[in-house]
Each structure stands twice: as structure tokens, then as C-alpha cells.
């Protein structure tokens, strides 16, 4: 189905704006919001959108960023450490950590549970 209504839930602001718990804040936020939307509307398209030249410049800028970004994202080879599921769940239970945190902790201690626990409990100050 080609969707004729991409704007269906298109106004994401509506659900968000219900957040502030007290009425006054909510009203203020709504008022500010409407102000801003207008401002942006006029700003973004001063005379029918940015001129071709500007678009081009921005596009070039984007691509420059992209190249820079890719260069940075050279894959950093992670040290291979063997980690068992049982060890992770042991730490999750004993240290009440989130799974990812427990895995991280194990990894930085060469997968050794006892070392990991020792590192975890020594005071950091």
C-alpha cells in the first residue's frame, strides 16, 4: 500500500508535548512551541528555499564530513577474550550489573571472574 498519509503520526510533537505534569507548564510549552514552529517555517524557506548555489555548498560540506567520518571509523580491533555465558550471569547475579556492563567488566579483566569481582569492589577513591 503506497501510503498517502505519511503524516499520519506525522506530528510527533503532539504526544511529546503532553509531558510536563503541571498544567501551566504544559500551556507555556505549547505556546512556545507554536511560536517556534512559525519561526522555523519562515526561516527555513525565506524565498522558496535556499538557492541552488547554497544547496550545492551544503551538499559539498556534507560529503566532506562523510569522508572525514569514514576515515575516523577505522575498525579498532578488539582484543579477543574468551567469555563464558555462565560467568556473565554469575556476575549479573552477584554484582547486580546489567548484562552488557558485566561483559565489559569481564573483558577488561581477561575473562577472569575473580579478578573482575576484585576490580569491581575496590574503592575508587
Amino acid at each position: 500500500m503506497s501510503d498517502p498519509i505519511p503524516s499520519a503520526i506525522a506530528d510527533p510533537e503532539a504526544p511529546e508535548r503532553t509531558l510536563p505534569t503541571n498544567t501551566e507548564d504544559r500551556k507555556a510549552a505549547a505556546a512556545l512551541l507554536s511560536l517556534n514552529q512559525n519561526a522555523i517555517g519562515t526561516e527555513a524557506s525565506p524565498t522558496g528555499g535556499p538557492s541552488g548555489a547554497e544547496q550545492e555548498a551544503l551538499g559539498k560540506a556534507m560529503s566532506r564530513l562523510d569522508i572525514a567520518g569514514h576515515q575516523k571509523n577505522d575498525p579498532v580491533t578488539k582484543k579477543v577474550v574468551k567469555i563464558t555465558v555462565a560467568d556473565v550471569s554469575f556476575l549479573v547475579d552477584q554484582l547486580e550489573l546489567h548484562k552488557t556492563k558485566a561483559t565489559e567488566l569481564l573483558r577488561s579483566n581477561d575473562g577472569d571472574v575473580v579478578l573482575a569481582m576484585k576490580a569491581f569492589i575496590s574503592p575508587s577513591f
Binding site: 498517502p4 505519511p6 503520526i9 510527533p12 503532539a14 547554497e54 560540506a61 575473580v114 569492589i121
Partner: protein
Amino acid sequence: MPQPLNPKDQSLFRQVVRNFELKQYKKGIKTADQVLKKNPNHGDTQAMKALILSHLGQSEEAFALGKEALRNDMKSHITWHVYGLLYRQEKNYEEAIKAYRFALRIEPESAPIQRDLALLQMQMRDFQGYITSRTAMLQAHPALRQNWTALAIAHHLSGDLEEAEKVLTTYEETLKGTPSVSNMEHSEATLYKNTIIAETGNLERALEHLEKYGYRCTDVLAVMEMKADYLLRLGRKSEAEQAYTALLERNPENSIYYDGLIKAKGVAEDDHKALKALYDEWVEKNPRGDSARRIPLDFLEGEDFKQAVDAYLQRMLKKGVPSLFANIKSLYSNPSKRDVVQALVEGYVAGNAAQANGSSESKDNEFLVSSYYFLAQHYNYELSRDLTKAMEYVDKAIELSPKSVEYQLTKARTWKHYGNTIKAAEEMEKARLLDEKDRYINTKAAKYQLRNNENDKALENMSKFTRNETVGGAMGDLHEMQCVWYLTEDGEAYLRQKKLALALKRFHGVFNIFDTWQEDQFDFHSFSLRKGMIRAYVDMVRWEDRLREHPFYTRMAVSAIKAYLLLHDQPDLAYGPIADGAEGLNDEERKKALKKAKREQQRLEKVEADKREARKAAAANAKSIDGEVKKEDSDPLGNTLVQTKEPLKDAMKFLTPLLNLDSQNIEAQTLGFEVYFRRNKHVLAVKCLAAAHAIDPSNPTLHLQLLQFRKALDTPSEPLDPKIAEVVNAEFEKLFPKSQTLEEFNDSFLTANKNSALHVQAALSGRQFLNKDSATQNEKDLLATLDSVDIMMSEAMAGLDLLNKWGSDKAAYAEKALKKWPESSLFKLD
């Protein structure tokens, strides 16, 4: 399965969407039902209906319907998006992110979904995800500056300063010509970039950038402050001196500027003459200012100090500045300064003040009464306390000026320091009656009533300044207005009375307020970008990350954990307070007391329910005016909270942020031990012990815990996992070597700290714990602690609690304490 609609229904569906956008929820539901009548399994329509339902506050129905919609149409981005929005409203952000991701996979071009996802990622501090989202959004709309700035923020917060700067620069390079000076967004972005450069540590470059562009920025003060700071840190002294002078000319009260100026001028910290001369120069320039007069008092010594403080005190007392003492008391950490101040003001009231000739009678009077007031506060203050004199002076002040709220307030405070909460509350109520329109004194009176465990009276006072038509009455309004201090005090008062249900209710109330504050930032992820106020936004985000470090959170969480520990140790308290010494009762009596408590609880519940009914009837009309449906609290008395099956698990909710953020707080660590120890989490328990030990190895609470833990390790109820045992033993050995026996450890602690009441109490507790037969000796030794000159009232109170814990007779102790503090109400047993 996606289901095509016929054109008529299609347009009806669009109508539903429009209704939702225009907030015509009822109409929307009607229209949606029309579509669903013919196409009962149309996922998109069901999803829209679910969304509308959730906005009407029917979140359960909404969720059920949202799930069904998803089942009916897994391939629609609408159903997934709505599903995410529903989770979002439930504050289950992780699931919401997942749902948004699915939606985005189906419809990668959808800007709204992308934006919702990005905002949530920011809220969850998923910086890598946020960078990805923001890059995509920038690619879609590179012409919008805020998209560039947002990407820079993403890099900045994830710690990649270089990349953040690069993004900002790349955008700047596309600009043709400089934006006008009135362009706020540009001005803020420039300064934001400057702070990023400064954060890299390259101040040279930051300064260069600032000098080149700063003059065009709107926030002049920030530019000046940043410049002065950079210059000083770069060691360019003479320029820094100029910069700080310029700042002081704008605002001669900011002490940071003085500090900067002094450093820039290179005045030595101990060259008091030169320092004083510098401040005097500013006094001359701003004769009405305070800072330049007050700051020198911090460093001056001896005769110089005496002269300066004499002039300062006389000037302020003549003007009758009520906050004078608050401004002076920080000097008292130096005892000789404290004594000088005391001697001077005592001299004034004795008539030695160098009075200006020809000053009128009433002027003299004001000077005198201000001095009395100052002395009353002086003798109330911890470091210079003499309550008899305080009372004397405050009475003199009241005599001269009987209508003054402050003086009466100080009288109440004196009673508080006497340990007499009853009198204190009464006197504070008198102060309140002197000015019933004053909110400050109103809250003071309420606070003193809470300290005296008069919860109802306090609420009655508070209700004079609340909107009582709010759902839940005055208490409801106090929640809505996020009156944290009141809720905390109220909860602590209930905790003292062992009314755990209400205590927990209040603590959870405060906890939720902190949650709200965390939640509040959500709006700003988009709002601040639109406004372009990014520096303030970044500050806020960083503040939010440390939100629960706030002392108000710590205080509330500590009390809440204590309440849960109490509930765990004495589960009977779930049914309300049972008469003191319940441990001493036999089974039969205990059952009786329990029954009585339960009956009382039911009665209170009934009363509350009746009240609610009455309110509902009264508010039936009022509600429609407000236009909003507020949920009535289904558990106003906290009975559901208190009847938890796992109090220790519930305590974790309060404990975890406390240990994560305020880990230098020894009380947090010792409480952490209590919770983990009871839950048999040995590794975490020893972590808390080690942390507490690092903060203060001779802490009395810690001492007792070390004993308990060692004993538990020596005689485990079930053998420990060998890995755990290895870790725990190794760490614990550092705190309490195996070579020492429990008794030796306790005795050496007692000898080392025999002059501190709290430490002696801990050692006696230790002895009692190790050997029940030593009780008589312990009681005797505890009584002897009252002979010490230094023992404080709060310490004596702790001794009383101890006797309670031991199940000993308290009469002798209380009597002796009462003799020592005859004015106090704390040692009156009933």
C-alpha cells in the same frame, strides 16, 4: 498483513488522523470505529485508535489495542510507530527505541519517526545511536542549521570534541557573508564552538577565536568572563587584570572576579595589607556594596581583623540588616575570630558602641535591638552555643520589638536546640500568627510541627498557601508543586512514629518528583535546538546526569532505605505502629497488638475512602472546567507500598542511585551494607564496607558492621561459593585481619576512641553482639557516657535507641539524661 481500504474508508481513516492532530479525540474514536466496523482487522486504524485512547488516559486499553494492531499489520510503519509512542508514554524507553527502529526500517524516509528515535536516544544517552540518527537527519535536511548543531552536540557529548568542532566549522564555511548581529542562533553557535575549543585544552586557540568573533556575540557577559578566564590561565597577567577590572565594574559583588583580579595582579595570598588595599579601592568605588567589605574578613587576622569586623558589624547593625549573622557565621570556624565577634557585639549592647553624635533615640533603639538579635543567633549557633544566653537576648529583643517575626522565630529555634520540639513548635506557631500572610514563616511553623510529629497540624498550616481544590487536596497540591522539603520532613516524621506506610508513601512521592525532573529534559532535546540556546542545553544535560547527587535526594533515600530495613526486620510494622517494645511481648500479646493495629489501619482506610468520595462529589462540576482528567491516587495511605513481599528489593530502587552518584557519603555506604548483607550479596556488601573504610576507617557504624560481617564469615549459614569466598576474604582481610579476634578488635576500638560517645556506643553494641551476658555491664557503661562533658544531645538520643534495641530498661538512662538537659522533651518516656 496490510489491508487496502476502499476509497471511502480511506478518507475516513484520514479523518481519524486529522481528528487526532486537532485533539478531537472523541470524534476520532467514533470515526475509527466506523472504519473498523467494516474492516475489523485494519491495523493502521486500530493503531490510531490506540494512540487516541492513550491520550485519553486509558493506557491499558491502548496497549492491548496497539498490540493487536501490530499483529494484524506487522509491515506497517504506522503500527510500529504507534507501538513505540505507547511505550514512550509508559516511559519504557528501551522498548520504545526498538519499536521506532522497526518503524524506521519499514519507512526509512520518515522524518517524524527519525526524529522521535533521535530524541529518545538522547534521553537514554545512547550517543552512538544519536550520532547515527543525527547524521541521517542532517543528510535529509542540510539546509537547517539546527541539524548541524545537533550533530555537533552529539559528537561533543559522546566525547569527540574534534569531530564536534569540525561539524560546526564545516557549516560555517558554507555561509556566505556573516549573519547579522541580531542572529541569536549564530551568536550562540559561535560561543558554543568556543567552549568546545576551550574544552580541548587549547586555550591559545580558544582565545584567538574569541577575540576574532566574540565582539559580535549577544551574550556580552559570557564573552567577558571567558576571555578573562583564558587570559588568566594563559598567564597573560596584565591583560587578565584589565579583563577582571572590567568585569568588576559591571558587577562589584561577584567574589570570583576578585579572586581572578588578585591572581592576575599576582598579590600573594598572605600579603594581607596589599589584599585589603585592593578591596578598599573597590569599597571606595562602590560605597554601597557588600562583597568588598565582607571578603577581607576572611583573611584578616588579629588587630586588623578586629578593626575591620568592628566597622562591618556596626555598619550593618545600624542599618538593621537581618541577614547579618548568616553573613558572619562562616568566620566562626576560626575560634579566635568567633571570640572577637562575640566580645565586640557584647560590648555594643553594654553601651560601648562608638555612636555617631546626635543620633536620635529611635536609631539607638534599632541598633540595640539588632545587636540583641545578632547575639541571640550567635548563642544559638553550633560553634558558639549557649542557650541560656540565647534565650535571654531573644527575650530582650522581643521586649523591644514584640511584633517582629524574626525574633519570635529565633526564640522557637532556641527551643529546638534545647531539644524541646513541643515548645519549639508552639513558639513557631506564635511567630506565624504575627504575620499570617507570610509564606516563609508559614512553612517554618509547619516544619517545626513536623519535627514534633504533628503531621495533621502541619498540613493544616500548609493548606493556607496551597490550591486545595487540586486532586488529593492540599497534599495533592504539595506533590504537584514538587514541595520536596515538606514531603521529606513529613515522611521522616511518619518514620519516627513507625507509621511506615505513610512514610514510604512520601518518600516515593519525592522519588517520583526526581523522576519527573529527569523526564522534564525530554522537551528540551528539541526545544533548545530550535531556540539555538545550546550552551545552556549542554549544561542542563550534564546537570541531569548527576541529578540524584542532590543532597535532597540523598536525604530522602537514606530515610527510605531505613524504613525498608525496619520493615524487613519487623514485618509486623506493615500493619501500622505497634506499641514500643513489641519484642518483649509474648505470642499472645503480640497477636493482640497486631490485630488492633490492623483494625486501626482499616479504619483509616475507610476514613480516607469516605473523604475521597466526598471530594469526588464536590469536584464533579469543577473538573469539566479544568478540562483535564487527573488520576486519583489509588493508594493515598501507602498501604500497598508497605505490604510489599520484598522490602529489601524495593529499597534497591533508592539505594542504587545513591551508591552510584553519592559514593563518598559514608551513610550511604553503611546503609548499602545493611541491605546487601541481609540479601546475602556478600561481594557487594564487602564493596560497601571497603568504600566506607576508605572514607573513615573509624566510623562507629562501620565498626559494628565489620564485627557482624566477620562473625557471619566465620560461621556461615551455608557455605559460600569458592570464587565469592576468595574475593570476599581477600578484601575483608584488609579491613579486619584474621589474626585479630573479634573481642580484641572490639576492645582496641574502644580504647582508641573512648572519648567519643558514638564510638563508645558502637563498641558497647559490639560487646553486646558478641556476648549477650555482658548486658548489665554494657548498660552501666552506656550510662557512664552521659557523664562526659562533650556528649551531645543527639548522641544521647542514639544511646536511648540502643537500649531499646537491647531490650533493656531505659528509665535510669532517661532520667539521667533529663537531668543533664532539663529543657528537652526528647528523654521524657511515656
